[in-house]
Structure formats: structure tokens, C-alpha cells
Symmetry: C2
Subunit: 130 residues, 2 copies
Amino acid sequence: MTTIELPLTERPDDQAVAGCCAPAAGDVVDTGTARDLARQFKALADPTRVQLLSIVTAHEGHEACVCDLTEPVGLSQPTVSHHLKILVEAGLLEREQRGRWAYYRAVPGAVAGLADAVSTLTPSPATASA
Amino acid sequence: MTTIELPLTERPDDQAVAGCCAPAAGDVVDTGTARDLARQFKALADPTRVQLLSIVTAHEGHEACVCDLTEPVGLSQPTVSHHLKILVEAGLLEREQRGRWAYYRAVPGAVAGLADAVSTLTPSPATASA
């Protein structure tokens, strides 16, 4: 009996494999950037924290007393303080104690930087196929 | 013995409470928007998923075969498929089966919408204090 050996690279399946892989056309975020972004996205992966960040940045001077933040989100001060701590740890807010109240301020450039980063994940017309 | 009742609203502590609360100057995201945003942020709260979204959007036509995605992130195809499924469920990617391969495409407008939403969380000069 005669055995015919077919070169593996000519199998239809392998052609399909070879044909499937188009090169990337635009910039891809590196591992370190992806890790930093994921950390900030994780801090915002909760509706209350999205609202709290929104309320703080909407306030005059982009800062708010913790006493301003409990009523809008309908939660107790310890719970609100817990959420705010996560936003501080993610570098999105900074905290300052003034007398009996803690004040939270949007970190200049931090949220803007996140917005820019999300924009880099957005499909641009330049990388669209014809 | 005579008991003097002091009106609660005139206690120094309550004055401090009243004095602490500055009004919000800008727009605040509503509960429904906060919930939708948090869902998408949660999908991106992982470095691998940030990278996968970045790779897909950087590809020509903003789409990539799953076979293109395993090597850049250094993970097995089942693991990559799991991450991609989370991005699909968050409405950021859509999946199409073509023969033996699944292709993932950036949902038009979805990531751009997320970038716009993050921008609304960004402190703007208009709401800065003098």
C-alpha cells in the first residue's frame, strides 16, 4: 500500500487559520496601562460610586463634603465613606479632613485622563476597513 | 427643677451641618445612567479585557478573529473567549461565527458612548470655584 503524505500547510483548515489573522492597524494599550485602567474601571464598577464621582465633580470647586453626599445616593455615611475610600484609592478623588467633616475633591486630570484613555479604546475612522 | 428646652436648630453642630453644604453646580448622572455605566466599567475592570477591547478596536475594520487574540494576551483560547463573552454581554463587542472561528467586532458607538460618559464625570472649568 502506498501512503501519500500531504504537506500540512496545504490543508484547507490551515489555510483558514492563516487567512483569519489580520494585522492590528492602530495602537494597542500596553500591559501596564491596561492594568492601571482596569484598576480605575474597577473603582467605577458600582452605580453608587459613579454617582458619587459625578456629584463631586458637579459641585463648585469640584469638591463636596461627605455630608452633601449621603442624601443624593440614599445611603448611610459609613457606606458612602466606604465607596469614597475606593475612589480615593483609585486616584480619582482626594480626601481632606476639615474639622468634623471630610471633603472630597476630584483629582485634577485623573478623570480627564481616564476619559482620554477610553477614547483610545474607541474605534476611529482611520482604522476602519474600506 | 426647671428644664430649659433649646431649639435643636440653633445648636452650633447643626449650624455646622447647614454651613457645610454647597449646592451642586453641574449635571449629575441619574441612577439609571449610573447603573448602565457601572455595568460597562465592570466589564473593563480587568486588564485582559482592556487589552482585548484595545486589540479588537485597533484591528482593521475594528474586528478580530479570536485566533488573533490569544497570543497578544498570552492566554488560552477558552480563557480569552470567556473574557470576550463578558465584553459582548456589556454591549461593547459583538460576536459573529464564521466557519470554525468566532470574530469579534467593536459595537459602533458603544465605546465612544462610554468615552463621552466618562467625559461627563470630568471636572470642567465651568464648575470650578473662583
